[in-house]
Symmetry: C3
Subunit: 400 residues, 3 copies
């Protein structure tokens, strides 16, 4: 551990890297279920720096295979989904979701060559509208956690994903760091900033849990002249959950669970499952319809309008394409402008950053666990424990 | 040979590389004759990872020089063709096609400096509408082969070129591999694929020749319910020839000869000389006029239309801009999506891939020949042998 | 010195490089004063391969800070200028122009953390409409030279800047090399080139001075059938000055002083201060208004029009967007097409290139001076000497 480059260990997740082996011990969301329908066009995806093709066979089973055909390496992303698998366009080799080669049309009659091909294939499972895959060693495969936001039926749900052009961890850290809410996301900044001094300072309670970190934040909100209380959670390996709403009153609660999935070391997919419990809405909450998502970035200056938007950064709180995504553009800006992979040796941690230090240490410990043959944190193998998995603490307000 | 990285040796053709030295023992096409006319704008070209400028002097001679002026390295591609050579825009140095410096306008009267400058220059020859250049050592320069498609007068000819964004060899291999024809290029796939099982399997005969490889393929064609017989040829160092038409009847024969010329290790120019012999056409075949060529690639998804084009890949058999180029978009897709330089260690060869294995071994042997001071295969030095060079075998049907 | 890679030493100016340490001993222009007004949007700049943010605080002081906040490395370029400094958008940390951290809104009452933060900050000074910064060691900071073109009040002035996509030095060399004027910049080339032989050859006098190099060039001008005499100057570390006009008559004199400031090793900003003395104009010279500057480059072929523009390169002498910038597109072309960093080992110097050889040797000597603890050339520490700094020689015509 002393000899480990900690920043590299936390940031790099390609095959064979310590962080990559760690991330490969968990089920990772790779697409929305709705993105591939039986027989529809396959989807080329890149996950943990591996090039893959995702498809749904004509029996409805999702498959995740190595992108390049085992024969001559042509992209199966340009293949056709049919006949119980996906067919390579070059010579018609057909693979099923297990990576078995079902056909090699040009090989001689009686050839057993196909049976000797085992194409790279990763198990997939679906839950709550997401397709999860497991890219790790078969003999260490855990259960796919049946998270509350994925399996509860007493409410309405919406799943979505967003692409991010920087390392997964700094974006996850930006979520776990709740303090920024009072500054980055504060609207009417010029009018309210002076009131901040009159409010109490942020108070962050947190503790390590079996899933990761439980965190309760009391944040000054100068627009309402009060402290806001918010529960947030980090869950292994790279997830974040936030409960939004008037927690005190128990009304209009929404739970947002996010998985930060590395595309590669400098690109990330954030999958989100949002759940609105019936009990806190007078009528079932209707999630707004999908709208085009414009990825914020340097190419559009993160929708900044310095003179007209009265926030510190000049990015409005609801930039174009983010009506239901809240502060997404502001968040992407603060996280991405740290660099494609932030150099953590240059940081200066304040008092509230202790939770980030703790999170990193927990992740590093989990990386060592994997290296030394142990299960890392939050691996679920007991079906009883997996009936429903809650990411929450023990306070009364959290039991919604 | 044992210590050689075979994939690198075959793929890399920059100056000083084993594969580069091999490729430099042959004349390579670098442009169409029609691209540079006397005194016209010079053309910047990159061949075998060398930056060069091609021009035609006012006497009509093609010249191929190092791109950067010997004086202060400004691009001669921005020079002017005049006064018996090409003039550098910076200080007016003038070079002829031999790389001799004819003028240095600012040097003092009586200076002999110009005579001491020998700018990099490669010999050029023209044949059949193509400009060929020789980039190798002067004392090993062979004859420019007078190929049938370039010199025959008993028919009509068309020359053309196409740019490809991947390594030359995998594109050449895609041509030599005739088996893919029955799968990649099969139209109405969903309707005809089940008939394939009822047809015989492909049969490939091939043998090594003095020019490279002779190959006769019998391929199942489910659209016509028969086997198609086709002659194809690999010729050194990186060429391919195909005879198209109803060979049995001897009617409407077209011969397509292609040279795969590395721009650099990840980009290729394919030059093509197409010839239609008079004897197989009732009237001289009229080649279709030039039309704009849109390079297929990820930027236009290789013109794929998954739901409407009934091929395995969903790329139509005649995508936009390829009316006379047949299956070009499909070919580029299968060859390029292997990666910029395919990693051949990941392949799994089927029975029909033996011809590719043989071709690679022949090329590796030729690379070693060059390293050890011998002429590689298909070097022609005898003018008698060069009166006309046929790339063909000894079967009666080939004598068209 | 023998072991030094001379081309690298001259070309590379990042932190810690020999050339970078040398360049950091001088004040460098980093922006026009008009680009940042009190409280206006900060400007992200890159200077000598360092990412920085430039702003002007509400008291009017320019500040140049490290781009990434000391806390969690978010870009201060997305911060807000207010309250005596610039505020990070993430958690509201506020920095003044000295890099002192004035506020950390979320830290607890009584925290002394802010006082222990010293953010990277470089001193700035303004003169003549330019903001200069000093990026070197504090104990070696010299005076900001009060150059004639920046401080004279007996005339009119205009400051401007141009971005260049290649190494600073080859662009500076293109300026110091006056000989190219008779070739690169010659209009109606086809009609006048034959007269060149009838004119005398260029004559270049030059000598080393305390600021760098004084140079007097007599250049053949075939359009007027005479020799043109022009004074030009190289001043340390990477500046160029040119006096334009009918020097003999002393009328309509304009002085152009340029600083070539590396953005990084392959990109450059050229700042220019142009001054027209009253004494040589019947009425105060009115500089043309600003117009859009389109950076010339491969993307627009440097505005080349080979068949219609009668210059060697086919770039017209006044390409779009360069009405007041003269030969800018032609200059950028000849300098940039040498490559992002020219490989000087491939050059062949003519007789007039001795001035470039001398300039490089002077720069290399200055680099060694810095390495060995001495002040390099043209460091001014005596205020008396700095009342006004002239870059000129001792000839009568220069005293304008």
């Amino acid at each position: 551990m002393q000899d480990m480059d900690r920043n590299a260990a936390l940031s790099e997740t390609g095959p064979g890297t310590p962080g990559g082996e760690f991330m490969r011990r968990y089920w990772q969301p790779v697409a929305l279920s709705s993105e591939v329908t039986p027989g529809s066009k396959p989807k080329t995806v890149r996950i943990l720096s591996e090039d893959l093709v995702l498809f749904r066979d004509d029996a409805g089973r999702p498959g995740l295979l190595g992108l390049h055909c085992s024969h001559r390496l042509t992209s199966l992303g340009y293949g056709r989904v049919e006949d119980g698998g996906i067919r390579c366009p070059f010579h018609g080799w057909l693979y099923d979701v297990h990576g078995h080669c079902l056909e090699q049309p040009a090989e001689p009659e009686g050839s057993t060559f196909a049976q000797r091909i085992q194409h790279r294939a990763y198990p997939c499972q679906e839950l709550g509208g997401l397709i999860f895959a497991y890219l790790g060693p078969a003999d260490r495969m855990p259960l796919l956690p049946r998270y509350e936001t994925l399996v509860r039926e007493d409410g309405t749900r919406k799943v979505d994903f967003y692409s991010i052009n920087s390392n997964y961890l700094q974006n996850l850290e930006g979520a776990v760091d709740t303090v920024h809410f009072s500054y980055l996301h504060m609207d009417h900044w010029s009018q309210v900033k002076h009131k901040l001094a009159g409010l109490p300072k942020p108070e962050i309670d947190w503790e390590e849990t079996d899933y990761g970190i439980w965190q309760k934040s009391n944040l000054p909100n100068v627009q309402y002249g009060i402290m806001n209380m918010v529960y947030t959670y980090f869950f292994f390996p790279a997830g974040f959950m936030r409960v939004q709403g008037s927690a005190a009153g128990g009304n209009d609660i929404k739970k947002f669970q996010s998985w930060y999935v590395p595309i590669d070391d400098e690109h990330t997919l954030r999958f989100q499952s949002a759940f609105a419990p019936l009990s806190t809405h007078s009528t079932p909450y209707e999630w707004p319809p999908d709208e085009e998502f414009i990825v914020p970035g340097p190419q559009n200056d993160y929708f900044r309008d310095y003179t007209r938007a009265d926030t510190i950064c000049g990015i409005p709180v609801n930039a174009p394409g983010t009506a239901i995504k809240g502060y997404l553009c502001q968040d992407s800006m603060v996280n991405e402008t740290q660099g494609p992979i932030v150099d953590r040796s240059q940081e200066h941690f304040g008092v509230h950053d202790r939770v980030l230090a703790a999170m990193r240490l927990m992740m590093l410990k989990a990386i060592v666990d994997v290296q030394e043959g142990r299960d890392p944190k939050h691996i679920i193998r007991d079906p009883a424990e997996n009936a429903i998995v809650y990411i929450r603490g023990n306070e009364a307000l959290e039991a919604v």
